[in-house]
Symmetry: C2
Subunit: 324 residues, 2 copies
């Protein structure tokens, strides 16, 4: 492993995982979202490379916060036939460079896991600022990696440990129940997303669905929903009527949510106006008000912003320098 | 260093330099340009990150050739105050991934040097296909790294060893003369670019000039010019009248040269039509004719295409697997 004097440090996942221990990713994401919404972050449009044959898609996100030490480039891939080969669908790495000189400081070979964690931490930020004061039951739609990471991340910001998870495969539901029970959650399972709407007032949707899984009439008064799964123009987990009737609709990035995610559907359908969408960072920074009453229905749409990658990669590198 | 089974190999410059020994980069670039011009390469638009304060600029180039094994992402930076700190202005790395799975295969910590080499190899491709049959004297405009690399790369495709180099600093000219003489060139120096036009019939321009350094009336019959320096919309080394009156104007990438480099200036000024521009890869592939007579004036405009990065990174990785 090269030292910073002679090139970037190169860290593999086990080393990164160790450095993450004790890091406050929720605060790191809050800092990033606030910087972003206050215009202190430089985040160019996402680069995309499509591998038609695999099939696979690669996204390149990059940016920096003005006045910080680093800029970050992240390469993240999704190859959805990988599981047939015994490989994870997701992969990638994060690269950290000095803002002052362009010198590479760190190559984080995280295999896409830091993206999972920063996305989950953003879900925790959303819940921290927008969940109702009493969460009766956490509803998780989906049983994949992000469903697990979201629930884990909520532990730090929500006291409730009652969980209802919905999925299409009984085996996947059972595996989820077992794993998450080990973390102290009381997990019930269902094959019906509508049961989630019925029994939970903090809901996180984590699927790659192209059809709405939840409808407006099902959603209870005072529910908060964080929609994580849709990050493209065609994916959709929530009926647009949910956003149309919500008391508050929040975007991680308004400019991205215009084109991708739940908000883009509602805008295209004309049931939501851009002026009614608030950025998460504006709430975190105190420039906008979050939840106003326990009766409000609130929705946060997370599409993933490069500033989150900047924050988590910087946090890992600072931890390395402190402990290494 | 991680093995391919457990993550990408990580190579530093000294290891990369060793692997380059014996690699035929001119053939690699020909292969890349031909694939590109025949539509077999996928090369999305270049990503750009500007660091206003440093000041610095970062370019992210990425792509692949259909049917190959790898896709490549390159991060290249230019921080022009770095030399004051005793650092090179350029830096960066190349990343190689499996087209089938997205798994990272190689992290090439080349500090930007592979970009210098693939750019120089492209200059050699241009000279191989477009230089007049008898080169009387090679003219190099500029005394920097790329001026050296271009001349080195020409050794493999041009017999002529007589060189005239122009620059603004007598000390830099003398350093260039000494270094290149050691490679077997007979180098004369001049402070006047017009002397290059007067005495050379193979010219390579390598400066970051924003003002034309050569004009049309100076250029001799039968001269070939490769313009390497201009890679942005505002940089310009050649008077547009040179391109207007040339018998053949060649782009490395027509879609890039529309926006950047010498050709973009001539198109904007209306003295050159896009239909009169040929791609270098079309000539290499035999889909277009190169130099037609020893009297022709030909110009190749190199702006740098990601497919070159794909080819050089792939060549280094294959050499590693063969020898490693």
């Amino acid at each position: 492993m090269a030292s910073p004097e002679h090139g970037p440090i190169v860290l593999h996942w086990p080393e990164i995982e160790e450095l993450l221990d004790g890091l406050d990713l929720v605060t790191a994401m809050e800092r990033g979202f606030a910087a972003y919404s206050r215009g202190r972050a430089v985040v160019p449009p996402v680069g995309e490379l499509l591998l038609d044959e695999a099939p696979g898609e690669v996204h390149i996100k990059y940016g920096y916060v003005r006045g910080d030490d680093f800029y970050v480039v992240k390469i993240a891939s999704g190859f959805f036939d990988n599981p047939k080969l015994g490989l994870a669908a997701g992969n990638g790495m994060m690269l950290l460079f000095a803002q002052a000189t362009g010198e590479p400081r760190a190559v984080l070979l995280d295999e896409g896991r830091l993206t999972d964690l920063r996305t989950a931490a953003a879900g925790a930020v959303a819940a921290k600022h927008l969940a109702p004061s009493v969460v009766e039951r956490i509803g998780i739609v989906g049983t994949g990696v992000q469903a697990r990471r979201q629930l884990e991340a909520l532990r730090g910001v929500i006291d409730c440990r009652a969980v209802l998870v919905s999925g299409r495969s009984p085996a996947a539901l059972e595996a989820f129940r077992e794993e998450m029970s080990a973390l102290g959650f009381e997990v019930e399972t269902t094959l019906e997303p509508s049961a989630i709407a019925d029994r939970c007032n903090l809901i996180v949707t984590t699927t790659p669905s192209h059809e709405p899984l939840l409808t407006a009439e099902e959603i209870r008064t005072g529910t908060h929903i964080t929609a994580v799964g849709s990050d493209t123009p065609d994916k959709q987990e929530l009926d647009s009527a949910i956003l149309a009737s919500a008391h508050m609709v929040v975007a991680d990035s308004l400019s991205q949510c215009r084109l991708r995610g739940e908000i883009s559907h509602a805008l295209r359908e004309g049931v939501l106006a851009e002026r009614d969408v608030v950025e998460l960072g504006a709430i975190v920074a105190g420039d906008a008000t979050g939840r106003r009453s326990d009766d409000a229905v609130t929705v946060v749409d997370l599409t993933g912003v490069a500033v989150q990658d900047v924050e988590i990669a910087s946090a890992v590198f600072r931890a390395y320098r402190t402990t290494g």
